[in-house]
Assembly symmetry: C2
Homo-oligomer: 428 residues x 2
């Protein structure tokens, strides 16, 4: 029997406490499965004296995560503090430099600094693992780096932010506005400390950037992602989409094209009856397509104590078993620089706009669309009480570039009462 | 750079040819991801001279798979011949004895001889891997043994035989009889050489036995599975189920209970709108539930050249990366003997029977059900041309034991024109 594998855990929020619970409750199971005893030697958090529902006094306490990360009696530094920079990054770098393995749930840090951290870990011969950083409990990093290692990945898409999906499905169920449900979700603690990370699509885009790197052998390129949040999705959009048999989802798509890497995270309409359309509340779903596998779909809880801790423990067990692989599935020094590319694959679009209530307004919009080469599949103008007339348009398939041109031209017509909303329709 | 990893492939059917194709086409990708060159040194099959669509003449040929398995220039013996016993087992044992890693897609061999083979492989310190044996391209073995290693698994259920699902969904779409669609599937080559393995539920039960062993730390216990095939599912059952909002699926369920291990593979009714209900054609779906993860669902192609070869290559890459873990996730010598247990969790049941056309027949059946403590939720008697009156009954929740008692008692009433069909309704 090997010597025990010793964890130092920095960050004792929901996920950290979940990891402590599993290690305390499943001691025998973990030993049977990995052949090693898995123990916690030290912990660290911002405040020491608060009841977290698990006994912590048998573990050494460190106020400073760097001190924790570099302790002699720590084999794996488990970073659960969060934040792209600051203590999380400093402590992670210190752990790697001290020859410790690192497990993190920190998607922001990996999306911003994944490549240099991977270079450092690989140079030092330690593992840097992050199953919990993407799609909560779903073992998507393992599936992509290991299970599908024989595939050339062609496309990944999915719903990877449970909070946004909660807001969008709650809006539909309740008929309440974005603002009302946002306040509800915030009150329930479902949103990040900075909610913009969730509803602005940033958190989901962090995850997409990580998946792209593994899938296509490119350096993490967060800045190359076209990001649009859900803040402008109105209850009218959700109802109009439902009328036409669609749901609105914050959908991430990444694919390598002849022109470069197309990465986008934006609200889209998907068929209500499709697996993505049926996704309720905080559940995540990742669709992976490869040259041999065709398509695999993974669905599971995108957050929460148990599921996220389960993902961390998967990484712990792999390290206990001695598994080691490059951080992004192939050596970081072989990752290429991605060339960001905009989507050219045509798709139908859903457009909503408010028009000033005067003759010829709609004609001006129709003219602009025609000039951009966009033909209209369906159009609906609603009755209205105020001076702005709501208009919905579904286009035939068209490129995103044509939509951008039309949106810009619309602004110049002078008939818009407010900025128009344009949502791509993904048929699957 | 390490020396090349050398494969010897026995069996050049669909899957074997798929593996050859990936190794030839993705040479650079595989090397980038695993750090090693992956090559084929020798192959073996029943007939040498036939065009398989890939060039094979650069590989040594062996008529005898045992000779292939024990060649000095083979590091991994890839067993793709099939069959629980015979050449596949003999060659696998020979490979292990010679200190070779083994990768197999052979669910029958693992379901019947998994435990002694695992003991032998672990004693010899070699890998025995079988991702392709369960659910085709879906990396379910990896998810269970590695990704969810921190979980106490509570239940697994799923659709794991694509041929049966093809037959059942084709029956519904076409309105044709089981016999007609069976003939169609057989003609298309969708069924095993012995189709009873598919439609009798045997193949799916082999897979379930393997998943149970990993999930619950028990020796593979194929004989402990309650198995029922789809041969007695009629188009009338499918239509009646559809009328009530259900689909019929060959569903596997395994869970550890206080009384022992409950394993069953039988046609069940599932809600038409549920993920399992929506599964079309050859697609497989596995639902895994654990104490921390809650629920993860994996969906993907259950068979076919690309997907199954993708699963084999996942195992190849793991071995190339030096990963090694016990065959069933914990050392074979620590696996316990399962005590088979029947299901006691009550469920509604769908019953179909033909009654002889005379007064009081239905009353006798109703009496038998009442005496077994079964209350009726819905009942329907159809008009009929011949002397047998078709009757459908949906019960309230009841144990399978009570259903068995009632079925036996029905036989003694003398009013049955044919043996009744009883299908469990799984609400999810």
């Amino acid at each position: 029997m090997s010597h025990p594998l010793r964890l130092g855990i920095a960050g004792l929020g929901t996920v950290g406490v979940g990891v402590v619970k599993i290690i305390r409750q499943q001691t025998a199971l973990l030993k049977a499965r990995t052949g090693r005893e898995i123990i916690i030697t030290a912990v660290s958090a911002r405040t020491k004296d608060c009841d977290r529902g698990v006994p912590l006094n048998s573990y050494a306490w460190e106020d400073n995560p760097v001190a924790l990360a570099t302790r002699d009696d720590v084999d794996i530094f488990v970073e659960l503090m969060g934040g792209a920079d600051g203590p999380a990054k400093i402590a992670t770098e210190a752990a790697i430099a001290a020859g410790k393995h690192v497990i993190t749930a920190n998607k922001a840090m990996l999306a911003m600094h994944g490549h240099p951290l991977a270079l450092a870990a690989e140079a030092k011969g330690v593992s840097l693992r992050y199953e919990a950083a993407v799609a909560g409990g779903i073992p998507v990093i393992k599936t992509l780096t290991e299970g599908l290692a024989g595939n050339e990945i062609t496309r990944i898409m999915g719903v990877m932010n449970g909070s946004c999906n909660y807001i969008l499905t709650r809006m539909e169920d309740s008929g309440l506005s974005y603002q009302e449900i946002f306040a509800e979700a915030d009150g329930l603690g479902y949103l990040e400390a900075d909610p913009q990370l969730d509803v602005g699509g940033i958190d989901a885009a962090h995850k997409l950037a990580i998946l792209s790197s593994i899938a296509f052998g490119t350096k993490v390129d967060f800045d190359g992602i076209v990001i649009e949040g859900i803040e402008r999705v109105s209850i009218e959009d959700i109802n109009a989409a439902a009328d036409m048999g669609y749901k609105i989802k914050l959908l991430g798509v990444t694919q390598m094209t002849g022109r470069g890497l197309e990465q986008r995270m934006q609200p889209c309409l998907v068929p209500a009856s499709s697996p993505l359309g049926q996704l309720q509340g905080g559940t995540n779903m990742i669709v992976i397509e490869g040259d041999s596998i065709e398509q695999v779909v993974l669905r599971g809880p995108g957050a929460g104590m148990g599921p996220t801790a389960s993902a961390v423990m998967g990484d712990v067990c792999d390290i206990a078993r001695g598994f080691q692989l490059p951080v992004f599935g192939q050596p970081a020094k072989t990752l290429t620089s991605a060339t960001p590319a905009k989507s050219t694959r045509p798709a139908p679009y859903y457009l909503r706009m408010g028009l000033v209530d005067k003759p010829g307004a709609l004609a001006k919009i129709a003219t602009v669309l025609g000039e951009a080469g966009i033909s209209i599949d369906r159009m609906r103008q609603y009755g209205h009480a105020d001076t702005s007339a709501p208009v919905l348009i579904v286009t035939h398939k068209i490129s995103s570039a044509a939509i951008d041109i039309a949106l810009e031209a619309m602004e110049r017509t002078g008939v818009l009462a407010s900025a128009p909303v344009a949502l791509r329709i993904e048929e699957g």
